[in-house]
Symmetry: D2
Subunit: 340 residues, 4 copies
Amino acid sequence: MKEVRIGLIGLGRLGYEHAENIAKRVPKAKLQAICDVDQQRLEETAQELGVEYTFSDYEEMCRCSELDAICIVSPSALHTEHIRIAMENGKHVFCEKPLDTTVAKCKEAEAVVAAYPERIFMLGFMRRYDRSYRLAKEKIDRGDIGRIVMIRAYTQDPISTIESTLKFAPHSGGQFLDMCVHDIDLCNWFTGGQKPKNLWAIGGCFAYPEYREWNDGDNVSCLLQYEDETMAFLFAGRAAAHGCNVETEIIGTKGTLRIGAVGTDSMLEVLSDHGVCRECYPDFMYRWHEAYIAEMEEFVNCILDNRQPEVTVFDGTMASETAYRCKESFETKKMLPFRD
Amino acid sequence: MKEVRIGLIGLGRLGYEHAENIAKRVPKAKLQAICDVDQQRLEETAQELGVEYTFSDYEEMCRCSELDAICIVSPSALHTEHIRIAMENGKHVFCEKPLDTTVAKCKEAEAVVAAYPERIFMLGFMRRYDRSYRLAKEKIDRGDIGRIVMIRAYTQDPISTIESTLKFAPHSGGQFLDMCVHDIDLCNWFTGGQKPKNLWAIGGCFAYPEYREWNDGDNVSCLLQYEDETMAFLFAGRAAAHGCNVETEIIGTKGTLRIGAVGTDSMLEVLSDHGVCRECYPDFMYRWHEAYIAEMEEFVNCILDNRQPEVTVFDGTMASETAYRCKESFETKKMLPFRD
Amino acid sequence: MKEVRIGLIGLGRLGYEHAENIAKRVPKAKLQAICDVDQQRLEETAQELGVEYTFSDYEEMCRCSELDAICIVSPSALHTEHIRIAMENGKHVFCEKPLDTTVAKCKEAEAVVAAYPERIFMLGFMRRYDRSYRLAKEKIDRGDIGRIVMIRAYTQDPISTIESTLKFAPHSGGQFLDMCVHDIDLCNWFTGGQKPKNLWAIGGCFAYPEYREWNDGDNVSCLLQYEDETMAFLFAGRAAAHGCNVETEIIGTKGTLRIGAVGTDSMLEVLSDHGVCRECYPDFMYRWHEAYIAEMEEFVNCILDNRQPEVTVFDGTMASETAYRCKESFETKKMLPFRD
Amino acid sequence: MKEVRIGLIGLGRLGYEHAENIAKRVPKAKLQAICDVDQQRLEETAQELGVEYTFSDYEEMCRCSELDAICIVSPSALHTEHIRIAMENGKHVFCEKPLDTTVAKCKEAEAVVAAYPERIFMLGFMRRYDRSYRLAKEKIDRGDIGRIVMIRAYTQDPISTIESTLKFAPHSGGQFLDMCVHDIDLCNWFTGGQKPKNLWAIGGCFAYPEYREWNDGDNVSCLLQYEDETMAFLFAGRAAAHGCNVETEIIGTKGTLRIGAVGTDSMLEVLSDHGVCRECYPDFMYRWHEAYIAEMEEFVNCILDNRQPEVTVFDGTMASETAYRCKESFETKKMLPFRD
C-alpha cells in the first residue's frame, strides 16, 4: 500500500478539520469518502475537498472496498457501534475522543478492538502529538525531572466563544468528560499508566448559572491522588478572558516542565499602554491544528508500517472512567476512591 | 512620638532580618533593645547594630520604660505568652507568624489582643506588604477580574537549602503550618474573608522519606472549597530544583492575575546553551526582603498614626485553624468539613 | 488548472525542503520534475518524493510541456539566467533569494520579468509569510503603532552549526548579502517601500578570524537612515550560543512590536538549576518551516488565481542593492549615501 | 567616624530623592544640611526630613564644620564649581551626572579631584549599582559570555510624562547628553574602559517637531565602533507608549545577557482580553529607586572605609565626551572619529 484511502464520518467542525487535513496536509493519505446526514454539507465538502464518494449511510461506506481506514468523528454515543462496523468490514479505525459515553460501552469497544488485533486502532488524544508535549514526554522518560510529584493541568475555553459553548453544553457530557478527559490522558501518559486511588471534584457556576441545569459548573476542578502518591490537579473553565488556555505543568523531584505557561499563538509581543503583552490562542482548533495533522500522519504511518500507535483503546477507557468518577465526585460532593 | 523604640526577642535568622531592618532601614524606628538566650549572639548583634539595651529575660525587656513596642520572633509556641506579657506592660506588638501552635492558643491570643484595644497589634503576614501582591489586591478590589473563581498558590523551598530545611523540619509544624499558612492567609485576604467549607489534603515523600517520621510529606497539596464555592489549590514543596518559588494565581470571571509565574531575582536574562533563562530567588529571605521592611514600616506608621493594621489577630487564627485542618485531612486521609 | 505542476532545480538543503513541501504539504501543487547535477541525489529524491521526471539539464526541464511553473533553488549567480529560460518557455517562476549576485544582474532579472507580465514571478522572502511577521504587518498597516521610528533586526546563526557555516562562508556573499538581506527586505516591507538615504556598517572577527580572508566579520552590524528619517539597525552573527535567533522589533510613535524576543521552538519551559528556561530554534530550517510552506502555497494560489504576489522582483533588487551597499560601507569603513 | 554627615544642594525631583534616601534609607548616613534657592521648599523639606541646617548659600554650607560630605544635585553647568568649593572646604563629594556641560569643564573637574586624592569623589552613575546590572557585570568579568561583540542600549521615557519632558527639553542638553550618557557609561564599564573609535548618530522628530528647535530629535540613535572593534548601538526615545523602558543587551562570543527585556515594575502578570501582559515602570525614578539608595550606601561606605568608588571622575569625562561627539555627529550628519 502506498497511500491510505480514508472514509470519514461526521462533518461537524472537528470532522471538517480532520477531513481537510487528510485531503490536503497528510502525505500518503487520501480522503476517498465522506459520510454525513446533512446532504448539502456532504456535497459541498466533497466538491471542496475533491472527495470521490459520499454516503449518508455509515454501514454502506464501511462496505466500500476502496477504503483502507475509517475516521470516526460522529457523536460520542455512537463511537463503539461505529468502531465495530468499521472493523467488521476490515477497516483500520481512527476514533475521536472520548471513546464512548459510558464506561460499559468503552469496555465493549475494548472487546471489539481486541477481536481484530491485525487492525490498527487509534484514539484521538491529539495532545500527545503536539510538539511541546512530545518534548516534555521525552524529558520525563529520560529522567530529566526525576520522579513526578505533581501534575497540574488547565483547560480553559475562551470567553469569546461562550455562546456556542453554551449551545453545546447539554450534549458535551460536562466539564470533566469534555475538557478534563484530555488532561486525564496526559496524566496517564506522563506517569506511565498510574491509576488514580482517590479523587475529589468541586466547582461552581461563577458566571453562567445555566450549568446548574446540567449538574455542572462553569469552572470546576479536581484533585487526584494516584496509587503511587503522585498528585494531579485539574482545572477546567468555560470562559477565560484571555483566550483559549491550555497549560500543563509537571513537577518532578529534579525539575519542572511547563507547557503553555504563556500560551500564545505567535512570536509577536506587543508593547503598548497595556504593557508588554502576548496574545493567546483564539480557540482550541487553532491551538491544536498542527497536532491534529501530526496524529493523522501517525495513524497513516501506523497502517503503512503495520504497527499499533502508542495511544490505545485502554487509554480511552481509563480517561473516560476517571472523568466519570470526577463527575460523580462533583455531583455527590464526596471524595471518592477511584473504584468502589 | 517621633520615633518608635522597639525591643525585639529572638535572634534567629528571621529575627536578625527584622532587627537589621528596624535598626537600619525603617525610618522612624529605633532598635532600642534585643533579647535572646544566646549571650554571645546577643552581644555581637547589639554591637553590630548599635543597640543600647540587651536582655536575656523577656519579661524584663518588656518592663523597660524606654520601649514603645515589642517585636516577637521567638519560637511559635511562646507567641501568645509573649504577646500577653508585652501588652500587660503597655507595649504595641508585632508578632511573627504563625500566631501560635494550636487553635486554642490562637483564641487565647485573640482574647489578649481584644483586652488592649488601644495597643497596636500586627501579625507578620509579610506577603500582604509585597508590592506585587498589593497591586493584585488593588485590582481585585477594583473589580478588574470580576468574581474570584479559583486561587492557586505554590510555596516551594529550594533544593539548595534542603539540609537546613531537614534540620528545621521536626520543629516546623509541618508543610501546612509552616508554608501553606501564608497562602491560606492570601486566600483569606483576596476573597475578603471567605471561610473554607470543605478541604482535602494529600501528598507524599517523593525524595525525602524522613518526612514520614513527622506524619508529613516533602511535597503536599490541598484542595479547598470555600463557603461561596470559590476554589483554592495549595501546593507546598521542600526541594524545588530551580530555587525559591512562590507563585500565586487568582482566576476571576473577567481576568486572571499571576504573581511570580517566573519568580526571578533580577531583570537579568541569560541566553546561553541552556536557552533563554531567568534565575530564581535563592531563598525566601531574599524573596521577601522588601516586604519585611514594608511590613515593619507599616507597623511603625500604625503606632504613630494610632490606627490598627489591616492584618489582624483573627487573620492569624483563621490561617492557623485552616492549616491545622489541612494537616488533619492529610493525616486522616479524609476530605473534611472546615469545622466538625 | 486544478493543480500546479512544478519543476524544481537545485537539491541542496533548502532545495530539498522546497521539494518536500511541494510534494507533500502544499495542496494543489505537484512536484512533477526535479533537476540537479548530482545524479544519485536526483534519483534518490525522485524515488523518495514520487517525482515523475528527472533532468540533469535545466533548459530541457523548462521545455517540458507538463510543467506549469519552475522553482529555482540553484546557486545565486545563476538565478537571472534561470529565470529567463523558464519564462521564455512559458513557465511561472518562484526564485529563492537573493535575486542574483550583482545589482546589474538584478536589473537584468527585472527586465526579464517585465517582459512576461502574464507570468507569475515570486521571490523567496519567506519571512513575509511567517505568521508572526504577517500579524505585525497587519498591525502596522492598521496604524496600531503609529509612524515607524526605528526597526531593529537580528539574524543569528547558532554556534552548533558553525562548521558548516564556515564551509559555506566563501560562497555565501558575506553577512550582509546572505543574512541581512532578509532583514533589509523586512524594513522595505514594513516601511511601505522607503529607500535608505545613508548607511554605515561595521563589525569584526570576534571568534573566527577566518572571516577576514573574505573581507567579512563573524559579527557585523549596520545603521541605516531612510529617506523619511526612519532608522534601522541590523545585526548579524554567525555563532549565537543559544541557537538560531531571529528577532525583529518595530518601534513606532504609538507602540512597539517584537517578534521572536524569546525565539523558542515550542511552548515548553524548563525549570531546573539553570533557572526558568526556554529553548531556541536549533536552525533556520526549523524556524521557517511553516513559512516555507506558506510562501509556496501563496505562489501556487497566485498562479491559480492569476494574480501577482505581494513580493516583487523589484523588492529583490532593492534588498540586494542595499546589502551590497552595506558591504561596501563595511569594506571601505565609510558612512555612505545609498547611491553615489 | 560612625556616621557620615551630608549636606545636599539642589532640591529638584532627583535632589529630593537623594535627600530622602540619605535621611531615611541609608544606614550610617545623616542628612545634616540642605541648600536651595527656593526658601519655601528648603524649609518644608528640612521640616519633613528633620534636617538641622538650611542654607541658601552653597559656599556657606560647604564651610559648615559639622559636615563630612556634600551631595551635589545642582544644575549641571555648576557641577565643577561646586565640586571645587566642596573639596577646598575639605569635604567628600558625591556629584550627580553629568560631570559638567562641556568637555573642558569636565577636564577641570578632573584636575580638582586629582588635587584632593584623600577626598572621596563619586559620580552618580547609579545604574552600576542596580542589582541586575551588577549581576551582568559579574558574569562578564567571570568570562561567562566570552568576549563582548556588541552592546545594545535603549533608554526610553514614557509617553505619560511627555509634558514635563518637553518642558525640561531646552535645558536637558539633548538626548545624547541627557539619556544616552548612562548607556555610554555602561559600555565603558562593561568593556573595561574601551574607547570609541568612530561613531554615527541619526534620528528625527517623529512625533514632536519641537525638538527641531533644539537641534535634537524625539527619537535618536547612534552606532559606535570601539577601538577593539566592539560595537555599540544606542537608542533614546522620549515617548514610549508602554512606559519607562531601559534595556541593555550584551552579546558575547559565548553567551548573551539581557537586562530589562521586559522591564516590569512588579512580578504581576495580568491575563485579560489584551492577552498576557506585564506592566512597565511608570518613570525612571521608580525604575532606579533601589539603585539610588545603593549608590549612596556605597558612597557612605567608601568614606567610612577610606577607599575610592569604582566609578571615577574620568568615567564622567569619558561619558560626556562621547555623548558630545554623538551630538556633533547628529548635528553635522557625519560619521565622526571619536577625536579629530
